[in-house]
Symmetry: C3
Subunit: 145 residues, 3 copies
């Protein structure tokens, strides 16, 4: 991983073989970043996508072995049970230029990944939501009074 701090953005240039989510977590841990928005492009392989089935409160999962262009990769870093957790959704471009996508469980950088991390000043927590079966961002209720 190669990195640069650019104003309020941290740029991570991930290298072949690095796991995308673990790399971001390692960086955030060492740099004491507990909340951030994340955006990336690049290429990944051996990745696993998820589609959440709300009725069953579980993910359908799809493993992809080959290399895909990382067309979009958006999400955030927050705390889940006091540990940093990266939530990313990705669009992955295949060799026929079709696109698949969903929630990203994991993915290995295939060529490069260029990540923009924008740290936030305060921690954000995720807490378990019974209604959805997922850990959602636990912010303050907003009143449209």
């Amino acid at each position: 991983m190669r990195t640069a701090i650019q104003g309020d953005a941290h740029i991570l240039s991930l290298e072949i073989g690095e796991e995308l989510i673990e790399s971001i977590l390692s960086y955030a841990d060492r740099e004491k970043i507990s909340a951030a928005s994340i955006s990336a492009i690049g290429a990944i392989r051996s990745f696993e996508l998820g589609y959440y089935v709300l009725d069953r409160k579980e993910y359908l999962r799809k493993k992809v072995d080959g290399i895909a262009e990382l067309i979009s990769c958006d999400g955030n870093l927050a705390l889940k049970e006091d540990k940093p957790f990266v939530h990313l959704h990705v669009a992955a471009g295949l060799s026929d230029f079709s696109v698949i996508g969903g929630h990203l469980f994991s993915g290995i950088v295939a060529v490069s990944a260029e990540v923009v991390l924008r740290p936030m000043p305060n921690p954000m927590n995720r807490s378990f939501s019974n209604a959805t079966g997922l850990y959602l961002l636990d912010l303050l209720p907003w009143k449209a009074f």
Copy 2:
């Protein structure tokens, strides 16, 4: 809706059943935000996509009932005829991991939607463009003199 202000970013955690665009508009209205960039991930249902046919100056429309992963959702908030208007394009991931997308007319949050709003200091207006039949961002002409 749950919210947090994080430096120059406003984080909106939308809840099941909330309409995505209306929620952003409500928040922006109450918080006196008239211009912003927007990025989100999450899951939506009962959404309507558009593809603009320039020749006919109208949108093809597609309604989708089921739940889709909100893979990417990018755009902005600006003023259209003096009223706040949200312009978003989305990539939506289906249960077979295929992706559909286009302009977003509306969509209901299906599980959660995590929105990053970055307000801009000055209002931006959209004005009607005869050439396209759409309201485009009416900024100052830039001269590559």
Copy 3:
């Protein structure tokens, strides 16, 4: 092209017929921006996508003539052999709402393109990587010591 500076964001509203990448490069050149993150939505036509074949160290290319919604367009501006270089990945929405995508070689604005450029204070260089056959962001090695 119409433009506005909004805090740390430069908003570019590109017009029909302008080439997306060239327009960003022209703007960056005149405004002395050598590094930036980029995000855009809009519509493009006559665009060329790439999928990188790592084994052969070359891109598969696909030209598309028709108009597509620019659903997502993410990337950055950096220096490649001392010249500004724009690296973008796009998801393009077709009239049947299917999505294709990949690396963007070029594309003509079909209706409008709304670009958010966030300049970075320091230049970033790309240097050639033998392992991948591509010019990758040449940042400082990060040590997870």
